[in-house]
């Protein structure tokens, strides 16, 4: 890899190569690594026991559990919806397809706070469009678990789709047609041919979605209201504790959120090349052999 990169950058100018490296590393360090390391340092400022003390606080455990629950449900919804939507976008032609594709990116473009406000407008129990009807039937959405899941699902919606769609496009539909002509029905084709082909895109999309869902702050905060700790998620807790000068707690919870994100990305990065590297190496071997 290093040799090909140097070829692209321009052979014969090692000075430029080093300059670029320093710029990139410095940029990433100042923007991501240093602040994250600082969070870690502050989290363990009082030693490991202080850190563990924070974790035994029922308010903290409740917030972490709530965040995980919301993230799990939101990720499951986005998994089903995302894979289905990707298949629809890639494999079928229908009017309004381009508009739909553009609409899917909306959650990335819109501020999460606006998402929260929009959900409140539609679902709140007093003057929302559906809210009063649902509330009459005993279903409360805003200021409770369903609303928080909806807000999180909305915000993380494009992540799986944007991972899966290019892989599906790249894969083409010939393998599916082949499966079909060999007697496989739609479900068998999906399960045995399509799904294995997009497996890694889904894994990556799920990890991103889960990490994003776990850390969602704006939309959830608006929808959660303030039901005395009942609807406080981990990121919201970090903010509250920070403002209440309980910085030790704030940093400890923040550390857990960061650690989770980093660990999950590392796991995926480790899993993925194992699947792809041998294939690539043998593909080049096959090209060399040709027959």
């Amino acid at each position: 890899m290093a040799s090909t990169q140097s070829n692209v950058v321009g052979a014969g100018s090692p000075a430029l190569k080093w300059l670029l490296r320093i710029v990139v590393v410095g940029y990433l360090f100042m923007l991501i690594a240093w602040p994250s390391l600082y969070v870690v340092r502050r989290a363990f400022e009082g030693g490991v026991s202080a850190f563990l003390d924070v974790l035994s606080d029922p308010g903290v455990t409740h917030a972490l559990q709530l965040s995980v629950k919301i993230a799990v449900v939101a990720t499951l919804i986005n998994l089903l919806f995302g894979v289905g939507m990707s298949l629809l976008l890639v494999r079928y032609e229908f009017p309004g397809k381009r508009a739909l594709s553009a609409l899917i990116d909306l959650p990335l473009a819109v501020s999460p706070i606006v998402v929260g406000l929009a959900l409140i407008l539609v679902y709140n129990g007093r003057y929302g469009w559906f809210g009063p009807t649902l509330e009459d039937n005993g279903i409360q959405i805003v200021f409770s678990f369903p609303g928080m899941v909806m807000a999180t699902t909305f915000v993380a919606l494009p992540l799986i789709i944007r991972e899966v769609v290019p892989v599906l496009e790249d894969m083409g539909d010939e393998q599916e047609q082949a499966a079909n002509s060999l007697g496989a029905n739609g479900w068998q084709t999906f399960w045995r041919v399509t799904l294995p082909g997009i497996k890694w895109a889904i894994v990556y999309g799920v990890v991103l979605t889960f990490a994003r869902s776990l850390g969602e702050f704006g939309a959830v905060k608006v929808v959660a209201g303030n039901v005395s700790g009942e609807t406080t998620t981990a990121p919201v807790l970090v903010q509250q504790k920070y403002q209440n000068f309980e910085q030790q707690t704030a940093y400890a919870v923040a550390f857990i959120l960061v650690a989770f994100a980093v660990v999950s990305l590392i796991i995926v990065a480790l899993l993925r090349p194992k699947d792809h590297k041998p294939a690539r190496a043998t593909a080049t071997a096959a090209i060399q052999e040709k027959i």
Partner: protein, 324 residues
């Protein structure tokens, strides 16, 4: 028994891919659908397979009405130009796919897979992944996979189109021998006339969404229905209002032959044993004549020489239809 396509029309937007095509393909034979790119031959194959739907018309496979039958129920084997291998499955798993879908007993599947891998000479690669195979090996695997389900008909869409010339020739010979062994009704699409003439029992020439001619390679070559078929099956030139093959023109260095066309040699190109002579004539424009090196030397053909051209006796000719 046969595969009968009747009155099939298929449009893609404004483009008419197939225009009221009716053709009957006999059982047990190796049939080629031959024609230029975009002529509709692949579309016809995909309609027979059920991968595309005809706008109008019917398809009958071995007496069974198949027009509205989904692809998975037609019991056809389909081989794609770009192999369409299942990338995440081993060679053996690929071949076993159709049998596993049909829920055959494990032992039967294993025996049949071994048989087929043997047939396509891939036994030693059974546990490899498709990415570890060359193009020719992948296509043989795809063929074994299609044959595994004992299809009523085997359909191959430009099966050797993505392979280099040498492998293509090998596989072509191999397909012919395979068909002589297995006898499955086979239809393959090609735009390569040499491939069709060499391999097929029967050739269907398709152009502009219509069937131009159906017949054995000999019939097509000796009695082409029109100048399109003749031009498509090999090199041709026009002499005195007739389309004729360049090697069927006789050259005389003196006038006097009845009905001969006078001209001047403008260019001579030697390719191995063959000499390609371009003659500028008054009535017929530039005429291409090919002859052996020996004949050219004996005649004394040289650039600038005056020559008289006639069509050889018994040569296949077709009237030029340039006005149409």
């Amino acid at each position: 028994m046969s595969i009968d396509v009747s009155g099939v029309t298929k449009r893609f937007g404004d483009f008419v891919a197939l225009d009221d095509v009716t053709v009957s393909l006999p059982t047990g034979q190796l049939t080629a659908l031959l024609g230029p790119s975009g002529g509709g031959k692949s579309t016809l194959l995909r309609i027979i397979a059920g991968l595309d739907q005809a706008d109008t018309g019917t398809v009958t496979i071995e007496g069974r009405e198949a027009t509205n039958l989904p692809a998975r129920k037609r019991n056809v084997g389909f081989v794609f130009q770009h192999y369409a291998v299942f990338k995440h499955m081993s060679v053996a798993k690929n071949v076993a796919f159709g049998l596993e879908i049909r829920k055959k007993p494990k032992a039967d599947i294993q025996r049949r897979v071994e048989e087929l891998l043997d047939l396509v000479h891939l036994s030693q690669f059974r546990d490899r992944m498709p990415s570890q195979l060359s193009g020719g090996q992948r296509q043989r695997m795809a063929l074994a996979r299609a044959l595994a389900v004992e299809p009523t008909v085997l359909l191959l869409d430009e099966p050797f189109g993505a392979l280099d010339a040498k492998v293509r020739k090998e596989l072509r010979d191999w397909l012919r021998r395979l068909h002589d062994e297995v006898h499955t009704t086979t239809i393959f699409v090609t735009h390569d006339q040499e491939e069709a003439l060499e391999v097929a029992d029967e050739i269907v020439v398709i152009n502009d969404g219509r069937v131009e001619q159906i017949g054995s390679p000999d019939v097509l070559y000796d009695k082409p229905a029109n100048d399109f078929v003749m031009r498509f099956l090999g090199e041709t030139t026009d002499l005195a209002g007739q389309t004729v093959r360049p090697h069927d023109i006789e050259v005389s260095m003196q006038p006097g032959v009845l009905g001969s066309t006078a001209g001047t040699v403008t260019r001579i190109l030697r390719v191995g044993f063959e000499v390609r002579v371009t003659v500028a004539t008054e009535g017929s424009g530039d005429v291409l004549v090919t002859m052996t090196r020996t004949l050219a030397r004996n005649l004394g053909v040289a650039e600038g020489a005056k020559v008289w051209l006639t069509t050889a006796k018994g040569a296949t000719t077709v009237p030029v239809m340039s006005a149409v």
